[in-house]
């Protein structure tokens, strides 16, 4: 199948193409203008932002305050934690000392009791021996006393 190219058709196509191209070029021109405005806007904004006065002093003062607060809070926490542990350590030491003293006292009391028991036992043995032995030796002892008096 062949298309016939009539002169009238060609002219109309050409006109349409020209119209389309001119619309596109107008469109492109408008877009170019908008993009140029956009670029200028970003440049102006960036320049203003770049040259803005920076609140260094305020920022540094804020930073100093924040740092000081953090340090003091940290110090308080460290002191609290270490103080607590020191108190706990001392408390334990004191409890251990008291327990040791009580244990020693108990041991002493036990030893004294044992000593007393032993003394009592010895005294009992002594008295038993004293009751028994002198009876057997008494005649000799009496003789000794009589000889001495003569």
């Amino acid at each position: 199948m062949r298309f016939e190219h009539k002169p009238g058709n060609n002219a109309r196509e050409s006109e349409e193409r020209t119209a389309r191209e001119s619309a596109q070029s107008v469109d492109d021109l408008a877009l170019d203008r908008v993009l140029t405005d956009f670029r200028s806007s970003v440049h102006a904004w960036s320049e203003a932002a770049h040259n803005r006065p920076r609140p260094i002093a305020a920022a540094s003062r804020r930073a100093v305050w924040r740092k000081a607060a953090a340090w003091s809070l940290g110090s308080m926490l460290v002191i609290g934690a270490s103080g607590g542990s020191v108190v706990e350590y001392r408390h334990r030491q004191e409890a251990a000392r008291i327990a040791a003293a009580r244990e020693a006292q108990q041991q002493r009391a036990l030893a004294e009791e044992r000593e007393r028991d032993a003394e009592k036992e010895l005294a009992k043995v002594d008295s038993d021996v004293a009751r028994e032995v002198p009876n057997a030796m008494e005649p000799l002892a009496q003789l000794m006393t009589e000889d001495e008096s003569q």
């Binding site: 596109q24 469109d27 408008a30 877009l31 908008v34 993009l35 405005d37 956009f38 670029r39 200028s40 806007s41 970003v42 440049h43 102006a44 904004w45 960036s46 320049e47 203003a48 932002a49 770049h50 803005r52």
Partner: protein, 180 residues
């Protein structure tokens, strides 16, 4: 007589003085957050200073710096996505405020108003772009870099840059009410 280190330091100082504002502008347009743009600019030059001895001049200094800035910005967004609680601390301004900045020039108040409205629409379109499209769009239409330079700065091929630009422009046209 200056040593090699002193010369390198002087050269770097010149690079900072020349390109600092451009890097800041790109980061400001990307983030719309002055404090963040300032921080990222400082990070960018800190990183550049650390790797200055490794810069061989294969691309221009600004392309190299832009590449660092783009990577820093990517890292920042990635970290923010992870650290979601930081979202509440964003100082980014909206498109309304960003479009307030327009040099007065010689145009009439009506023209100024129209221009401001159109700039606002462009910002709105930029908001809707993907991160990569936005970067390419800003490098082309704000920083006026050519396609090859954008490709070097972003690590994308020229064809990909063109495709991103075309989509971004389509979006801008759509927002402006023109043809896509």
């Amino acid at each position: 007589m200056a040593t090699a280190e002193e010369l390198a330091a002087e050269e770097f100082a010149r690079v900072v003085a020349t390109h600092r504002q451009q890097i800041f502008r790109f980061l400001l347009a990307s983030t719309r957050d002055m404090d963040l743009a300032e921080t990222l600019t400082q990070d960018c030059f800190l990183k550049a200073h650390r790797h200055w001895s490794g810069f061989r001049g294969e691309s221009s200094a600004i392309t190299w710096l832009m590449r660092i800035a783009i990577n820093l910005q990517k890292d920042h967004w990635r970290n923010r996505r992870v650290q979601f609680w930081r979202h509440t601390r964003s100082n980014a301004v909206d498109s309304e405020e960003a479009s307030e900045w327009l040099p007065s020039g010689e145009s009439s108040p009506e023209q100024q108003l129209l221009a401001r409205e159109q700039v606002k629409r462009v910002w709105r379109a930029v908001d809707g772009l993907s991160e990569r499209q936005r970067t390419v769009f800003l490098l082309r239409y704000v920083e006026e870099m050519d396609i090859a330079e954008i490709g070097r700065a972003t690590g994308l091929s020229e064809g990909t840059v063109k495709a991103h630009l075309s989509r971004a422009l389509g979006r801008v046209r759509g927002e402006l009410g023109g043809r896509k």
